[in-house]
Amino acid sequence: MTIKIDLTREYEALVEAYQREGLDTSLFGDRIAAIIISGDRIIGLNNVPGVKIRGEEIENGVRADVKIADNIELPFPIHLCTGYLKSEGYQRVIFEINVGKNSKVRFTSHCIFPYAKDFTHEAITRIKIGEGSSVLYDDEHVHGEGVRMVSKTEVDVGRNARYTGRFSLTKHRAKELKLEMVARLDERAVLELESKVKAVKDDSVEMKEVAYLEGAHSRANLRSTAIAFDRARVNVINEAYGFGDYAKGHVECHEIVKGDADVQTVPLLRVKNDKAELTHEASIGRINEAQLIQLMAKGLTEEEAAEFIIKGLLGE
């Protein structure tokens, strides 16, 4: 990996943060296509055959273009690391990702803001997936106590292509999180979106997942899980639009509330084609009584049972 000499200390500090959080430091290796951002600078960049990453430093942040050629299948994920190691400030990152035809790639995106006390992170990600390709995008966050995050992801899933997006912010404070994911699906395209968030204290979370099932036989599954404790506020919006012939969509939202948390879920299903089919499933409230009692009958206390159930829900 090419590392800018004057920024090696920042690079090392980021690697250290990875180690502390138990994240995979092998992602910094030479075999991995990667862009490493710290604040408004690109401190590391690596390309591998079939993947071309170009970065540009902009005001308060970085813009990066990632191009994947046709017929590429990578044994390792592409690593997108966005770090901010100061406690205050503002950062803006823009990712333009283009995946060619019949390729299979995985992205591991890490946002590392471990010391943030008064920090705003804005991210815009546009992903275009060519015909027959498959993309898995894992987005994991390490936040300090005071992060305001606004993230918008737009995905164009081409014919016979597949996109799986997973967002998780469960081990650190969400503080102020506004997350929006919008996908448009072509013929026989498949979309899976999964978001998991834990909100505590006075955190405020808004999650929105939207799928436009435009292509015939396109399919989408949107799943959101939110755990809200204390005085946290969580608003989850799931929208699915069935436009294509035989398009199928399923929207699922599970929210668990404890304390004085305020949680709402707003599903919107709209069909403009009598051959399309959309379904919705939601649960909101305290932990299911039967789940608790049945674990307590095995000797767990109510608190231990609740913790076990929540860990499972959040995939911890």
């Binding site: 899980t225 599970h254 299911n288 039967a290 789940q291 009692i293 049945q294 674990l295 307590m296 009958a297 095995k298 000797g299 767990l300 206390t301 109510e302 231990e304 076990f308 159930i309 860990k311 499972g312 829900l313 959040l314 995939g315």
Partner: protein, 262 residues
Amino acid sequence: MNLFSTKGFGQDCPENFKLPSYEVFSMKMLCLRDIEYSRDGRRILRPINMRFREGMSYSILGPNGAGKSTIARIVMGELKPTSGQILLDGEDITGLSVTERAKLGISMAWQEPARYEGITVQEYLTLGGKLRTNKDELQEVLELVGMPYELYAHRFVDKSLSGGERKRVELASLLLLKPRYAILDEPDSGLDITAGKLIELILNRFRKCGTTVILITHHEGIALKTEFAYFVCSGRIIRRGFSREVVDYYRKTCRRCSFAEG
């Protein structure tokens, strides 16, 4: 002393039947004394008395709506009786919570086991690592319930498991826990034609561990696999005794009597 040779067993059971006090306080057993349960003004259980001696296997047999599962849930502590007492080794445990009863060795497999997202079979069986066991034992109990370890240990205990598979996981869970008292509420429901054989294997295994089984069922064939049985209908105990005798009586009388009308 043969618990089932004492007064009140092997014959029609009067509702005011009570255990002799010397038995209640001197033996290792679980007893229900004058347990009543009403909900929304409706009487679900009339005063009932039952006793379960350590190391034995029992069925509570009866038609749908007889109050069998209510009895199970009262013993486990999920429901509080309107009146009466639950005694364990002579100690009143009526006021104890589900967790406290579980810690005393009472556990239960529900008729409809709950499903848990993101929890694997292995994590579920070991209660997230809280139950000390080893891979060999896990493998053994899973295979006993017909679930090869390699195929199931890492599956999620969520809706991706069929009803029968979920039920088998629950039975494996109780086998691993080795409680003093295992309440199995309709353990054969949702299982395929191998259910009868599976229940036999489970009863044998519990017998070896010294676990007392309380099996709730409406199937005579399943009740016959236990040593003793209670025939319950409309919240009353109709008959108690050796399972063979109780099942014979159940076959002859059930759906021909006036109890079902309440």
